[in-house]
């Protein structure tokens, strides 16, 4: 292993779990997250010389985010599905959802189904700030830098995202109770 690869293994690959978590929250789909992380890590590898700061995770996350925008845009071109955040109505929202096809659902584990159900009602913007705050434990400042929105917007978006997920979770746990009865 050469020095460049050793540097990459030591500095970047420790953030693979984080990058994967973030990718899962962005895409919701395990298969899409795999592709997104792989593509992002390869881009990070090819651009390792561009890494100057000390915050490797923020650097990698920015790549994941850019990569996601590119892949998503390509997908949209083929399927003509609007980007999350562009839709105005519930109907559009339903059309824009990336619900897995029945075949994909069949091979998902219970955990994966639960994950998908809980996050299904949240917009991409909401999923993004929640993941950065709750899982990556980033400060409002760090979230603002990565998502390029003002701190005030981070706060209000985070509040709305939490409220949306809370409602979703309550609904889901109600459903489970009913299922048990």
């Amino acid at each position: 292993m050469d020095a460049r690869r050793m540097r990459f293994e030591a500095q970047v690959l420790p953030h693979l779990d984080s990058a994967y978590r973030f990718a899962r929250w962005l895409t919701r789909s395990p298969a899409d997250a795999d592709d997104l992380v792989q593509e992002s890590v390869l881009r990070a590898w090819r651009g390792l010389e561009g890494l100057r700061g000390t915050d490797v995770r923020a650097w990698l996350f920015a790549i994941v985010r850019n990569c996601h925008a590119t892949l998503h845009r390509q997908g949209r071109r083929h399927a003509s599905v609007p980007l999350p955040g562009e839709h105005e109505t519930e109907e559009d929202l339903a059309m824009a959802s990336t619900d897995p096809d029945p075949e994909a659902l069949a091979v998902m584990s219970d955990d994966e189904r639960q994950f998908d159900r809980l996050l299904a009602g949240l917009s991409e913007e909401h999923r993004e700030v929640l993941a950065l705050r709750e899982l990556e434990e980033m400060s409002y400042r760090e979230i603002a830098d990565i998502t390029r929105i003002p701190i005030g917007t981070v706060m209000s978006r985070l509040a709305r995202a939490r409220e949306a997920l809370r409602e979703r979770w309550l609904k889901e746990s109600e459903g489970e109770l009913r299922g048990v009865r």
């Binding site: 693979l16 978590r21 795999d34 590898w45 923020a58 899982l135 409002y140 209000s156």
Partner: protein, 257 residues
């Protein structure tokens, strides 16, 4: 979430408040049942998220990525030893001579907006990225009757489209780029071995005009009614001005009288 202090309670929960502010919220919590309930909800939600919504990278993915890294060519030579350069499209050919440093710079460009870089840097970054990608154009045509309607379905704006092959600026096609939260229309011209990207996006304030140079790429900004335009390239100023003059003449001709 009824209480006006709810965002501050959230900030307190997220560890964003300094000592005195935190103490003020703690005092408020003693007297406000809504905010106490909110705090409990926030804690519960965090527990659920960290317990149920925190997947780890599958071992198979980690292996797949390591294998893909192993298969990557050695970095120092990858962009100069491409024998197929001659057969590749001209814009990739132009890119083939770039060094790893330039490639790293292009990656740095893509990060610049996050670290406080300006809009001009974002544009230069979009230009560099377009050269390195296979998506320089999404609709390939020198016919404005093809490119213009394509923008109507894909971009948020409809810029003036014209081919100036006779004057040395061949319209290669168009694409859209996300810029400033909108789908900007991008016209792609070829001038000799150079690519010129002309970005168009909506800017009703119309404050931007003039020139800029970022990392060696020249850019000329101008405004036509509610659209802002920017031409970016590594050509000289004269060539870039030539194309801008042609576009502005076309815009003047198309303007409603």
């Amino acid at each position: 979430m009824a209480c006006a202090e709810s965002l501050k309670v959230q900030a307190y929960f997220d560890g964003e408040l300094e000592g005195p502010q935190a103490r003020a919220i703690e005092q408020h919590l003693e007297s406000c049942t809504d905010c106490r309930a909110l705090l409990t909800d926030l804690k519960r939600l965090r527990t659920v998220i960290r317990r149920d919504l925190s997947p780890r990278a599958p071992a198979a993915l980690t292996e797949r990525i390591r294998a893909a890294l192993d298969a990557e060519p050695a970095q120092a030579t990858v962009h100069v030893l491409r024998p197929a350069a001659a057969r590749r499209p001209f814009w990739l050919g132009a890119f083939g001579g770039l060094t790893v440093g330039a490639l790293a710079a292009s990656l740095l460009f893509s990060l610049m907006p996050l670290i406080g870089g300006s809009f001009a840097e974002e544009l230069a970054g979009a230009h560099v990225r377009s050269l390195g990608s296979t998506h320089l154009v999404e609709v390939e045509s020198s016919d404005h009757h093809t490119v213009k309607p394509w923008f109507a379905g894909h971009a948020d704006v409809s810029p003036v489209v014209a081919d100036f092959a006779a004057q040395g600026f061949r319209l290669v096609g168009g694409r859209t780029d996300l810029l400033d939260h909108q789908r900007a229309a991008v016209l792609v011209y070829q001038h000799g071995a150079h690519v010129i990207n002309v970005f168009a996006w909506e800017d009703r304030h119309g404050g931007r005009a003039g020139r800029d140079t970022r990392s060696g790429y020249h850019m000329i900004f101008w405004q036509d009614r509610d659209l802002a335009y920017c031409a970016v390239s590594d050509t000289g100023w004269n060539e870039l001005e030539g194309l801008v003059a042609l576009l502005r003449a076309q815009q003047a001709a198309d303007a409603p009288h």
